[in-house]
């Protein structure tokens, strides 16, 4: 039985599946070869195996040949063996019965003389992923962990993790984690140590939610002893294992400042590593270690600038992008520190658009008194760029810089020059910007209106730009002689206007114009109202009707409603809340930075970085002795590092009074209600001379209207809580691990409460008023998770710890309470419930 000639150099890209016949053909040939000892049989086998693997690669199901492959696997040729292992690993799961066939030869190979073969066999054995074969795994794994060859031990360590994923119980029964732990501390081979480390990390992280022992084990991974042991050996590890160790160190909570400096000195030279991953991991360690030391933190920024810029320049464009995203994050946090480096962020011709976009944002952020001129000049060059999206983006950037208040008049000139370029997208973008500028700096209206008045509305097609133009026509109709007539012609073409946004603006503009120049506009307004009433769009119809009735009722009232004197907007709300920004910063050196989203927004629950919760607490606790301090260092930190706009925001919490003392979570300005009040507060706090004095009264009025004034806590007399309770996260975590659950109950939330719970911060503030402090929180509508604590006012220090999971769609809260003094927890729960029931009902 001569082996059929292997298809010589068969085109390596097999045509997509006709599949079946080819697979059966392969099966036949394999069967013929199975027992063959003829010389050259191995070569023919190799060719056949290659074909099988190449089918497998392109996605043709070749599992039908499983038994034939196994039959052919009895060979001493290591290349054949490897191919066979690869095949078996791929298909064993769908053929658990056939997989049994492989166990025999794999087990045999596990005792081979050659450590290579032992390792390979062990790896394949663990990769079968067949639950009912687990029993065959334990013995070879145990032997592998004690093997004399470091290669086998390396493979065995990962094998434990594979076993854990197939059957966690078997893994624990065989006590493998303990073996790994001792291996990690004693093995001479650095890669074995590294493998043990990540295996233990993954196992304990997954187990931590189930058992308290596991979470304790997880904590020991962060013990000083282990961290120092690994750090002292850091140069023995290869670059990937170094990343792993550094990632661990970033989570380590140093005991004192000597500790911090020791670690930083030890790792200093890692910043000169050519591998960007090592550098970024080191930077994360530095940033996290120095969170509590403002001046050192700032030095770290200065120190890491150069290595980051070098990395941006040295790798492929993809690598640069990853580094640049991190640089972007740092720039956004501390723009002042980068203000002299602006030239590094100029766009290069070869930059892909995603890089250019990041750079434009950075340029916008770092623009200040000293560099605005150059930056804006550069941005203006991009505005005429052939790359239209980038051109648009640059115009927006110019506008944003103008809104940041530096050098406004020069920029306004530039913007007006854009309008003269007569490119439709340039005009469109610029109009939107001019509108925003006018809302912030009404004093520029004269210059702007002169230019805007010259723009023919026919050249403006994009709805946003058209709406902006119409807004300006309405707002400044007294300064634009043509305004009523332009509006009139626009109203005449009502039916051709597709965007509801534009039609809405048209109605309002016609109204405003009418109040200023009634005789000229009356006809147009009538036409607009009529057209609006007949409009099919609900909002347009409603607004037209509203205006109509308002006018009918009283024209002067209508004027007061539609066109009251406006106050300039001082700060446009930030698109991203500072809480989210902090979250992203905590997740430095991860995908969160690239996506500019915290991880809970893009990962499924089961795949979330398992340290998540402990990170929540861990990060809050970084370098902070008590929660009370947290806020303080945070603020001073921001004062030094953050842009003025953010500093303005920070004015808010400062004025919050004593309630802010025990404040642990960063405030969130995203929710519109809160931002409104804090904004007005900060306006008064900054005492802008241009700001009318009556704002403070307005603030009060708004506060009352929105129900933000915080009432005194009405605690039941049975239990009084310490309003300034302090508990550091480490202690919280420990206590949470030690104490038993004293109450676990569900309670419901009022609909108003659900409505008010747009972000976790809303509830956190509310609870503070009842002397219940929050230590960590997270989640997004509809699911929120909080960890609260409170302290009994009198008597020995006694804490209540609480986990509260709220689902707003079902309006239910799941509460778990643990307490030092379990007898008082009923009272505490009652207090909590009464506080919760008042949430949003003020």
């Amino acid at each position: 039985m001569a082996p059929p000639p292997a298809p010589p150099q068969k085109s390596p890209s097999p045509s997509q599946p006709s599949g079946k016949s080819e697979v059966s053909d392969l099966k036949l040939q394999l069967r013929q070869l199975a027992g063959s000892r003829a010389p050259g049989a191995d070569d023919s086998k190799r060719d056949l195996f290659k074909r099988v693997i190449s089918y497998m690669t392109v996605g043709i199901d070749v599992s039908a040949a499983f038994s034939e492959m196994v039959m052919c696997s009895a060979t001493s040729d290591i290349v054949l063996k490897k191919m066979c292992y690869l095949y078996v690993g791929n298909y064993a799961r769908c053929h658990p019965d056939l997989a049994l066939l492989t166990i025999n030869f794999l087990q045999k190979d596990c005792h081979d003389e050659d450590p290579m073969i032992r390792g390979l066999a062990l790896r394949s054995l663990c990769s079968l992923r067949v639950p009912n074969l687990v029993e065959y795994l334990v013995a070879p794994l145990g032997a592998g962990l004690k093997d004399g060859s470091s290669y086998v031990r390396m493979v065995a360590a990962v094998g434990v993790l594979k076993l854990y994923h197939i059957s966690a119980a078997t893994c624990f029964d065989s006590d493998f984690p303990a073996v790994l732990k001792s291996l990690m501390l004693t093995d001479p081979d650095a890669q074995v140590v590294a493998n043990c480390l990540f295996v233990l990390q993954e196992i304990w992280n997954l187990e931590a939610n189930k058992s308290e022992e596991a979470s304790r084990e997880r904590e020991t991974l962060l013990s000083k002893k282990l961290v120092y042991y690994l750090l002292n050996r850091i140069k023995e590890f290869n670059e990937w294992a170094q990343c792993l160790v550094l990632e661990l160190v970033a989570k380590y909570i140093p005991s004192d400042s000597d500790d911090i400096f020791d670690i930083m000195n030890l790792l200093e030279d890692r910043l000169q590593h050519a591998n960007g991953a090592v550098v970024l991991a080191t930077i994360k360690v530095f940033l996290h270690l120095t969170m509590s030391m403002t001046d050192v933190h700032q030095q770290v920024y200065e120190r890491i600038k150069a290595p980051l810029l070098t990395l941006v320049g040295s790798g492929s464009s993809e690598q640069s992008y990853a580094v640049l995203s991190h640089l972007h994050l740092l720039v956004m946090r501390a723009p002042m520190l980068f203000s002299s480096d602006y030239k590094h962020f100029y766009c290069q011709f070869s930059d892909p658009s995603y890089v250019k976009k990041l750079k434009l944002e950075m340029l916008t952020a770092i623009a200040n008194e000293s560099n605005t001129y150059e930056i804006v000049t550069e941005l203006c060059e991009y505005a005429g760029n052939v790359d239209v999206p980038i051109a648009r983006e640059s115009i927006r950037a110019v506008g944003k810089i103008a809104l940041q208040q530096y050098d406004v008049n020069a920029i306004v000139d530039r913007l007006l020059q854009f309008l003269e370029m007569e490119k439709d997208y340039v005009t469109a973008e610029t109009l939107v910007l001019v509108k925003d500028l006018l809302r912030k700096y009404p004093q520029w209206s004269h210059d702007c209106i002169a230019v805007v008045g010259n723009i023919s509305s026919k050249n403006v097609q994009e709805p946003k730009a058209k709406a902006a133009l119409i807004w300006m026509l309405g707002e400044y109709s007294q300064d634009m002689p043509d305004a009523p007539y332009i509006l009139e012609s626009l109203i005449e073409n009502w039916d051709e206007e597709n965007a509801a946004e534009v039609r809405l603006h048209l109605l309002t503009a016609a109204m405003k114009c009418f109040f200023k120049r009634p005789p000229e506009t009356q006809k147009a307004l009538g036409a607009a109202l009529a057209a609006g009433l007949a409009d099919s769009h609900q909002d347009v119809h409603d607004r037209a009707l509203f205006y109509y009735r308002l006018l009918q009722y009283d024209v002067s009232v209508a004027e007061r409603v539609v066109n009251p004197p406006k106050q300039a907007v001082s700060v446009f709300a930030d698109t991203q809340s500072s809480e989210i920004k902090d979250r992203i910063f905590d997740e430095f050196n991860s995908l969160s930075v690239v996506y500019q989203k915290p991880s809970y927004m893009f990962t499924d629950k089961e795949h979330r970085e398992p340290f998540e919760f402990s990170e929540e607490i861990g990060n809050l606790s970084l370098g902070q002795e008590s929660v009370g301090n947290a806020r303080r260092y945070d603020e001073s930190d921001k004062d030094l590092l953050l842009s003025t706009s953010e500093r303005e925001e920070n004015g808010g919490p400062n004025t919050n009074g004593p309630a802010a003392a025990g404040y642990s979570a960063p405030p969130d300005y995203n929710s519109s209600l809160v931002s409104l009040s804090s904004q007005t507060q900060s306006e008064t706090a900054i005492s802008d001379p241009g700001m009318p004095k009556h704002t403070s009264q307005m603030t009060l009025a708004i506060d009352d209207l929105l129900g933000l004034s915080v009432p005194a806590a009405l605690a039941p007399p049975s239990l009084k809580l310490n309003p300034k309770a302090v508990l550091d996260p480490g202690t919280f975590q420990r206590k949470w691990g030690q104490l038993a659950v004293s109450i676990s109950q569900d309670c419901s939330i009022s609909p108003q409460g659900v409505a008010a719970l747009t972000t976790p911060q809303a509830l956190i503030r509310h609870m503070q008023a009842s002397s219940i402090q929050c230590i960590a929180s997270g989640g997004q509508s509809p699911n929120f998770k909080f960890f609260f604590f409170a302290q009994k006012l009198d008597g020995p220090p006694s804490f209540f710890l609480m986990e509260c999971i709220i689902n707003t769609s079902s309006a239910k809260a799941q509460v778990k309470i643990k307490a030092d003094d379990a007898t008082a927890s009923e009272a505490f729960f009652a207090l909590f419930q009464s506080a919760l029931s008042k949430f949003g009902v003020l």
């Binding site: 050519a274 040295s314 990853a322």
Partner: protein, 601 residues
């Protein structure tokens, strides 16, 4: 952790597909390819290297026209994965000699073998070519390197493959020569990517060099090597600013920053600028560096576009090679975007031009001028006549450009970083391996903005101020004053001046206003008279502008001297000294620049 790794061809076929954790569905390669191919999000044309679809993160790099992709559900470190992908490609190249679709398809079993060892259950294990040698048993099927098309300009331009033509060593680390013996040799390539932006008036706006010392070692027995760099090399901008003879000091190389491969030991680096290392097998970057030190750009680019009657315009691009005649640049491409309403273009190459082509890419609306080689010291010009399909409104120079150049210059390095010597520890007296040290400079982003044929008066005025403000980057106080004139900044770093110093800001302000006003008045007049004389007029205008600036500066100087002598109140006491010197420096630079401009323009 990494769930899957796969390599896709340009058409989207799987060449290699490895599932490590079984967490992501098998269809991920198809989802990925579709997403990348039809990427149109946020007006962006191109998919970023990292994106998320339904909770699965796709991270990819493009190398040699192939996609190297990983998927994961975990929030991993993006740079770790991207570095790893790049490293996998590099290791594969070390083994296969050449990395392309063909070689990968022929050797996919070997690649699987590598992948098994590089990543285990999603965790990176090792990417060292040397370590992997003991685990890999397949012999590579080496494809004929002569069949690989040479690295044309197109391949350099290909996104995501910052190609290193200097490193085109196409020998596998494990294949022995036909003679049965391995040739002992080591390649050291100093590769520099330069980025330069020329402003519309021809001066350098930004410049940067990103360099790599790349090694590829075929030495056996891991001998130690020593690589000596320039003795006067200094690192760190901050330290150099103490002495501050950086731009004028001829020869001293100052790097902003650098990093090193982990095998490099820096014991004597501080003393004699020598790197010592035991080079691992295969290709690796021993050192990466970056400098923003001024350097002489290899090419001067001048471009002009102007209207030549109705619906017509003429563009002239001039390149001068500013390097030694012994050096030749090759595969030069010059690209110039033209107004979107350009219908036809006719070209006029120099008489007797060899190896030059010019083309109008209608889809992309740009001119492409390719030159096979440019010898140092030579100058080349391209004239193009553009025909428009509609009338241009406004300034056509704003709707065209900027010009971008791509080139490679072997045996040239812009930073002057040199390898003084390369020493290999001798194992025996007869041991004398081949040592190759090569230099190559490549364009990363070489952009020249258009000169607006200088009859746009207002623009010229802004330019004049731009010159003064950029050239005084080191002496900021004046910059602030000069800018204050046009921009009326709130205040310099010092507190706002008291009323008595009103004169201090008012004088230059008025002067500058007067200047730009004069030009604004003259400007439109010049534009409207589109006669044959407009060039001359422009020159005169320019000279006028320069003169005015100079005069303004002189007045400033006198004023400040007066301040110093006590006749007037100084604007802010502690910035006096720089204020004294800066105007002089500025006026000098302005005059020089102005003259240069006039000559060149």
């Amino acid at each position: 952790m990494i769930a899957q790794f796969f390599v896709l061809s340009q058409r989207g076929d799987n060449i290699v597909f490895r599932d490590y954790r079984g967490e992501v569905s098998k269809g991920s390669a198809e989802i990925f390819f579709r997403k990348v191919k039809f990427w149109k999000e946020d007006e962006e044309e191109e998919a970023p290297p990292v994106f998320n679809v339904d909770g699965v993160n796709y991270i990819h790099v493009k190398i040699a026209g192939l996609f190297f992709v990983t998927t994961t559900r975990v929030n991993v470190s993006p740079s770790l994965v991207l570095e790893l992908l790049q490293r996998i490609a590099r290791v594969t190249k070390d083994y296969l000699g050449i990395l392309n679709e063909d070689s990968l398809r022929k050797n996919f079993v070997l690649v699987y073998e590598l992948l098994d060892e590089v990543i285990d259950f999603g965790y990176p294990q090792t990417t060292s070519t040397e370590v992997l040698k003991s685990y890999v048993f397949n012999e590579p099927i080496v494809i004929d390197s002569t069949r690989v098309p040479p690295l044309g300009p197109a391949s350099i331009f290909m996104q995501g493959t910052k190609k290193m033509p200097g490193a085109a060593v196409t020998k596998s680390v494990i294949v022995t020569e036909p003679g049965g013996r391995k040739r002992e040799e080591i390649f050291v390539d100093i590769i520099e990517k330069i980025s330069v932006t020329f402003s519309s008036s021809g001066y350098i706006l930004t410049s940067e060099i990103d360099g790599t010392i790349q090694m590829k070692s075929y030495l056996t027995g891991s001998p130690e090597i020593r690589l000596a760099l320039n003795e006067d090399l200094s690192i760190g901008r901050n330290s150099s600013s103490v002495y501050d003879y950086r731009s004028s000091a001829g020869g001293a190389v100052i790097l902003d920053d650098c990093n090193f491969h982990e095998s490099v030991r820096l014991d004597s680096f501080d003393v004699d600028r020598t790197l010592s290392l035991i080079p691992p097998d295969g290709e690796f970057a021993a050192m990466n560096y970056r400098t923003t030190q001024e350097f002489k750009p290899p090419f001067r680019v001048n471009a002009l576009i102007e209207e030549a009657g109705q619906l017509k315009a003429e563009a002239i691009i001039k390149i001068r090679a500013d390097f030694a005649t012994s050096v030749t640049a090759n595969t030069i491409t010059v690209q110039m975007p033209v107004p979107t309403y350009t219908a036809r273009v006719s070209f006029e190459l120099e008489s007797g031009a060899v190896g030059q082509t010019a083309d109008f890419k209608e889809g992309a609306k740009r001119l492409e001028w390719c030159l096979k080689k440019i010898v140092g010291g030579s100058e080349h010009t391209l004239r193009a006549k553009l025909t428009f399909s509609q009338e241009s409104h406004g300034n056509i120079a704003r709707e065209a450009g900027p010009i971008n150049m791509n080139f490679t210059i072997p045996m040239y390095n812009a930073s002057k970083l040199q390898v003084r010597y390369l020493q290999i520890a001798k194992k025996s007296p007869s041991y004398n391996p081949y040592r190759w040290v090569r230099y190559v400079t490549q364009s990363n982003s070489y952009v020249a903005r258009f000169s607006t044929s200088s009859f746009d008066g207002t623009r010229e005025a802004t330019q004049a101020t731009a010159i003064s403000s950029t050239s005084t980057a080191t002496s900021s106080p004046l910059e602030v004053v000069a800018e204050g004139a046009t921009a009326s900044l709130p205040d310099p770093p010092a507190p706002p001046p008291p009323p008595t110093t009103f004169l201090g800001t008012a004088v230059p302000l008025l002067l500058q206003l007067g200047l730009s006003g004069a030009i604004k008045i003259l400007g439109p007049a010049a534009t409207s008279s589109s006669s044959h004389h407009h060039y001359l007029l422009a020159y005169r205008l320019h000279a006028l502008a320069v003169f005015f600036t100079f005069a303004a500066d002189m007045v400033l100087v006198i004023y400040f001297i007066a301040c110093y002598a006590g006749f007037a109140t100084p604007p802010a006491g502690r910035v006096m000294k720089p204020l004294m010197i800066a105007p002089l420096a500025v006026s000098f630079v302005t005059v020089v620049l102005g003259t240069v401009l006039n000559v060149v323009g």
